[in-house]
């Protein structure tokens, strides 16, 4: 017991959040000029950059091209200084490869790929600082980058993690909570049509608790969606206002 109390008797987590509270989210779309779309996103101390290139011609061997739809190419890497212990390699390790394929799977499900046959879209994600929920932040940042690039999608795709502690579901785990040995449920959903496009669970969680945790993660995803959507729309409005001024002179 003398270790940590992940959820106190007073109902607070180690960092002062309540079980259903998210970390602070801040983001910016369009941080780079050269990429077709880009976004920077912070979820607490997890900081992620995403860049989108394309759709463009297939790079490398043409054999990879899909005759009826867009080829989505992802790369997940982590800056060598992003973790507590310095990483030796930014990518190519098994964890990064797994993340890469998870991202590809997630965005295959949401981008309207049939609109762009025989070409390729690149989604690159770079984790600058890692404090838990790397996949979630990557997905959320990449969604924003895709929007910035103007790639047609079914919906936002929003990811959030969750777990179960002292009979209470918690959402948006930080690194400390992730490494406590409990179960972790990670979900990516289409928030406006309540569809789950990605689901992963680590460690053991009893079946009875699963739906409770999933419900809370779902709510967490929607909270994130509201935060992102609000700012995206505000920016859009501001931009159209500006455009109006420009066009009307």
């Amino acid at each position: 017991m003398a270790g940590m109390e992940l959820l106190s008797d007073q109902g607070f987590r180690m960092d002062g959040r309540k079980p259903n509270e998210l970390r602070r989210i801040r983001f910016k779309k369009g941080v780079f000029r050269q990429a077709d779309g880009s976004a920077y996103l912070e979820q607490g101390n997890t900081k992620v950059l995403a860049a989108v290139y394309g759709p463009h011609e297939i790079r490398g061997s043409r054999g990879k091209a899909l005759h009826d739809k867009l080829l989505i190419n992802c790369q997940y890497s982590m800056a060598t200084f992003s973790t507590q212990d310095r990483k030796r390699r930014p990518r190519g390790d098994r964890k990064a490869q797994e993340m890469t394929s998870h991202l590809k799977q997630t965005f295959d499900a949401v981008v309207l790929t049939e609109l762009y046959p025989k070409v390729q879209l690149d989604i690159f994600v770079e984790v600058l600082q890692s404090d838990g929920g790397n996949y979630c932040a990557s997905v959320n940042a990449a969604t924003l980058a895709l929007m910035d690039a103007g790639i047609p999608m079914k919906d936002y795709v929003i990811a959030c993690s969750g777990s179960h502690m002292r009979d209470t579901p918690i959402v948006d785990m930080n690194h400390l909570e992730e490494s406590s040995g409990g179960a972790e449920v990670i979900m990516a959903i289409l928030p406006r049509c309540d569809q789950i496009v990605f689901l992963e669970m680590n460690s053991r969680l009893h079946e009875d608790h699963l739906s409770g945790v999933m419900d809370h993660v779902m709510v967490g995803c929607k909270d994130i969606f509201n935060i992102l959507n609000q700012q995206v729309q505000d920016e859009l409005c501001q931009k159209t206002e500006l455009d109006k001024i420009v066009t009307t002179g």
């Binding site: 003398a2 002062g16 959040r17 101390n45 507590q84 212990d85 009893h206």
Partner: protein
């Protein structure tokens, strides 16, 4: 609002980890006061009273107290007093306590959960108004003090529209000074307690380290303790060793230290070398040069009870002079203590040393545990406490004090009173026995408890089966029930149904933590200390008849030759048709006219059990159960019941067989599913040398004991029977028991599979599953099994092999202590029984020692020692010890092992705290040693006080607690 906490840590490889953690600050944290005039979002939690009544002359207005960390740590006895109410425990204080002392943390949590104490935890660290960011140049301690002041200031401001004042209680002078500068009220705990009308609290104040030193003569008696950093450095460099101090029971100035990762024990001798270390402390040692090595002296040295303290103080230095005339070959590695790594002080039972000056307030306290030094305390109630058993806690041990300083905690009652003595024995064996706290009770199911449809859906309904329980008479905590029915294919379906305790005790809550800490139910001769509250142990979990109960069932399909075809585990609902005693069950089986389903079920079970038992014994399982001789008192006559009447019936062994089978089946299942973290029980095979005394003793009667395997041992024990001495075989089995190792719980991931062996039961793997009401190990087994079959959720601690192992360590400790406490309870009752009588009894020599005979008295199941040299006069013995043949000879009488004797039993009450049963030899008659038999004495003193021995017994009329003896 957001801030980051930054830590820097160094890893082993020299890496520097800069750890950054987010820390969210909020403005929605409730103040917890009913008097609050703001809109605090309370969630209904407002434990602090609206108008707390002030009892203090210092703070006349109603007030709340805010103690700092050290006050809570050192003065927990004060805080626990019912008169101290309305206290705010800051989160920062609670966190620090958690890191510094687990037992005190638990006590604080208990107070916090208690509704009439009005204690409240305020999360000051998460409130944006009370969070204190560490400033450059500020130490962590200073920051914490500042945070506490900030919280107090916030409270004062928050409650400024009310009558209530907020008072900081701190013994840190700097902190108090700063508080006054900040315009806050701050007092020391001593100032505050002295201002209360309840004067008895003053005695319970812990002594601050410096206060008492000043009025001492200032003579430094001890070397300084090294600091922790220096100790760690020394340990790394190999200059110091680290270990746990074990003071000798015979001589309080000698001790051994069991050094970490080392088999050899290191010897420490003398007051100076012990350097204020107390038994059980974790200490740092420095080896002495070989020339100063010593060995335990054969002298028995107990602190004198009568001596006046000044006298002793003068003696203090003299005692330390150790002349090294110890012969080289006897010398043992000897060391001195240079520092204390962790104190392991607890509260101690004992009595006050009678003082010559009546009015004085400083007194010495003599602990019941001989290995603990006397403790100096201050009390104004010495008069009333003189004949009482009291509890005292140690606060400190300064360098210039011969004795540690402590404070009075509470009074247990009159010396010699049975309840008091029971309490002492529980405390001394560290058996948690307080009433369950409110926090614990809050996790009990709400009554009336009903079975819901959802429950039924999740469980297999076995209510139609003819299940019954078989237990000793008077048993209220029924763990297990059984059934057996014939299947169409000629096989049997046998079910063992165990109380589903884990359904009611959820992992991690206060109830679970309490049960895990208690580890086991403790059975004393006249009392049972439950592991779980009565509502569960005797009602909801207990598989009583004619009520629906939840069970965890093991179902087997067994062939008529008792081979298992199929094993199935399920959570179930059962309806026990009858709660039988062993005798009732036996009657049913034997009754030729009974043909009801229940009887058939019992007969089936009995038949299969016999086959199972035979298989097990053929496998080499040891049968040592018959050696369990216990002291029982008949409720009507208060006479001990003869041991022979405890003969086991078939039904005893019938139940036992199926419990063993269930335990083994469960062990296999959970190990298969959790190879790393299954909780199992092992009983290591004893090293062959352990059997030497047994072999030697049996040889003297012409028997050969083969110890090459369990099977061989069991067989040779069976053959060693002497018709004219019915106790011979029993005694051999008692000796065999002494050769055995302790059976222990362990986590499967910590050992190799070949070490899982249970020697006594001759099974490669074993666990405890069948008594979850009274053993925590079984609850863990239940949880693991429930996860295996998907009936319940796992949790991180359950899957962590090292956490399971540390749990096992506690359980092993608690079980050992429960056993000792049980034995001590028997001793206590023996003493009470013989308090007013002297009696002659038949006995048998169990062991022949150098200066004594170990004698077994079958009638009482007692074992005692007849000292051969009259220890009072230290005169040389008239006996000659023959080591070769293991005999003692005096004149023409030679005493061998197993010889029958007549001994006289009486109570030696020369020591108030430690009454001893004294045995004196009556027969054979040895002039100058043996005493006259009681009858002869009575015959001589013509008729005056005859027949003193059979009436006026101090033992209460309550029947003894029936303990289920199925411990393997």
């Amino acid at each position: 609002m957001l801030t980051n906490k930054v830590f820097i840590k160094k890893t082993k490889m020299g890496g520097v980890m800069k750890i950054v953690r987010e820390h969210y600050l909020r403005d929605d944290i409730n103040c917890g006061s009913q008097a609050c005039t703001h809109n605090c979002d309370s969630d209904g939690k407002e434990p602090l009273e609206e108008i707390p009544i002030s009892d203090s002359k210092l703070v006349m207005k109603p007030h709340y107290l805010v103690p700092d960390t050290n006050v809570v740590l050192h003065q927990i006895d004060i805080l626990e007093d019912p008169s101290i109410k309305n206290v705010i425990i800051l989160q920062i204080v609670l966190d620090e306590i958690r890191h510094r002392s687990a037992p005190i943390y638990k006590r604080v949590k208990d107070i916090l959960a208690s509704s009439h104490k009005h204690f409240y935890t305020y999360c000051n660290e998460f409130n944006m108004h009370t969070y204190a960011e560490r400033q450059p140049g500020e130490s962590a301690n200073d920051r914490n003090d500042r945070a506490i002041r900030k919280a107090v200031a916030w409270y004062a401001d928050h409650l400024k529209d009310t009558e209530i004042e907020v008072v900081l209680i701190t013994n840190d002078a700097g902190n108090r000074k700063q508080s006054v500068l900040d315009g806050l009220k701050a007092y020391t705990i001593h100032e505050y307690v002295r201002s209360l009308s309840n004067m008895s609290l003053i005695d319970r104040l812990a002594n601050p380290l410096n206060q008492m030193n000043q009025d001492n003569n200032g003579k430094v008696l001890f070397a300084e303790h090294l600091g922790l950093a220096e100790i760690q450095k020394g340990i790394r460099a190999g200059r110091f060793l680290q270990g746990t101090l074990l003071i000798s029971r015979e001589n309080y100035l000698e001790a051994f230290v069991s050094v970490k990762d080392q088999e050899k024990m290191i010897f420490v001798q003398g007051l100076q070398n012990l350097n204020r270390a107390v038994n059980d402390d974790n200490v740092a040692l420095e080896m002495l040069p070989d020339s100063e090595w010593s060995c335990p002296s054969s002298m028995v040295l107990a602190e004198d009870e009568g001596k006046d303290e000044e006298d002793e103080e003068n003696r203090a230095l003299n005692e330390t002079v150790v002349d090294n005339k110890v012969p080289k070959e006897l010398r043992q590695p000897t060391a001195r203590i240079v520092g204390i790594i962790k104190r392991n002080w607890r509260q101690y039972c004992g009595i006050l040393q009678p003082s010559i000056i009546k009015e004085r307030t400083r007194h010495l306290f003599i602990p019941a545990e001989k290995r603990i030094p006397k403790i100096r305390i201050e009390t104004r109630q010495a008069q009333t406490l003189a004949s009482k058993r009291i509890i005292v806690a140690i606060d400190s041990w300064p360098r210039n004090s011969r004795y540690p300083l402590g404070h009075f905690v509470r009074c247990l009652g009159e010396i010699g009173d049975k309840d008091t003595e029971n309490e002492v024995l529980l405390l001394e064996h560290d058996v948690p026995h307080q009433n369950f706290s409110e926090a614990v009770l809050s996790f009990l199911p709400k009554m009336p408890w009903t079975i819901t449809e959802d429950d039924v859906k999740r469980r297999r309904d076995l209510r139609h089966l003819d299940i019954c329980s078989v237990d000793p008479p008077g048993c209220t905590d029924i763990d297990d029930a059984l059934h057996c029915r014939e299947l169409d294919n000629g096989n049997y379906e046998v079910g063992v149904h165990i109380a589903d305790v884990s359904h009611f005790i959820r992992p991690g809550n206060a109830l679970d933590q309490e049960a895990a800490n208690r580890g086991t139910t403790v059975y004393l001769t006249d009392k049972r200390i439950d592991m779980v509250p009565d509502l569960l142990s005797s009602n909801l979990c207990s598989l009583r008849s004619k009520v629906y109960r939840f069970a965890f069932s093991v179902l087997w399909e067994i062939t008529p030759t008792a081979d298992i075809v199929k094993t199935d585990f399920t959570k179930s609902i059962i309806d026990s048709k009858a709660s039988l005693t062993y005798a009732e069950a036996q009657l049913k089986i034997d009754d030729p006219n009974a043909h009801d389903n229940l009887t058939k079920s019992l007969r089936g079970l009995n038949k299969l059990a016999k086959i199972l038992k035979k298989k097990r014994l053929d496998n080499g399982a040891l049968s040592l159960a018959s050696t369990e001789v216990r002291f029982y008192v008949d409720s009507e006559t208060n006479d001990p019941i003869d041991v022979k009447t405890k003969e086991l019936m078939d039904t005893n062994s019938m139940v036992e067989e199926f419990m063993l089978l269930a335990n083994i089946s469960v062990a296999e299942k959970i190990l298969y599913e959790f190879p790393d973290n299954a909780l199992l029980r092992r009983h290591p095979a004893p090293p062959p040398s352990n059997f030497d005394p047994l072999i030697k003793a049996a040889q003297s009667k012409g028997f050969t004991i083969d110890v090459s395997s369990g099977k061989a041992l069991a067989d040779s024990l069976d053959q060693a029977v002497v018709p004219e001495n019915p106790y011979f075989n029993t005694m051999l089995r008692i000796m065999t028991t002494r050769c055995m190792m302790q059976a222990v719980y362990f986590s499967s991931g910590m050992l190799q599979p070949q070490d899982y062996l249970h020697y006594g039961l001759a099974t490669p793997i074993y666990t405890h599953f069948t008594s979850p009401i009274r053993r925590y190990s079984d609850i863990i087994a239940h949880r693991l099994l429930a996860v295996c079959i998907g009936a319940d959720a796992s949790y991180p601690e359950l899957l962590d092999k090292s956490k399971i192992q540390s749990l096992c360590n506690n359980l092993n400790f608690r079980h050992k202590m429960a056993q000792y406490a049980g034995r001590a309870s028997v001793n206590l009752h023996t003493h009470l029984f013989f308090k007013k009588r002297i009696q002659d009894e038949e006995g048998h020599v169990l062991f022949v020692r150098k200066n004594a005979l170990q004698v077994l008295i079958p009638k009482y199941g007692l074992e005692g020692t007849v000292f051969l040299n009259d220890d009072g006069q230290k005169s040389s013995s008239i006996f000659v010890y023959d080591e070769e043949n293991n005999t003692q000879t005096a004149g023409d009488v030679t005493i061998h092992v197993f010889d029958p004797l007549i001994v006289q039993l009486s109570i030696d009450r020369s020591n108030v705290q430690h009454m001893k049963l004294s045995l004196k030899l009556v027969k054979p008659m040895i002039p100058g040693f043996s005493v006259q038999s009681v009858r002869e004495v009575q015959a001589n003193a013509t008729g005056s006080q005859s027949k003193t021995s059979t009436t006026d017994l101090p033992i209460s009329g309550k029947p003894p607690q029936k303990k289920k003896k199925r411990t393997h």
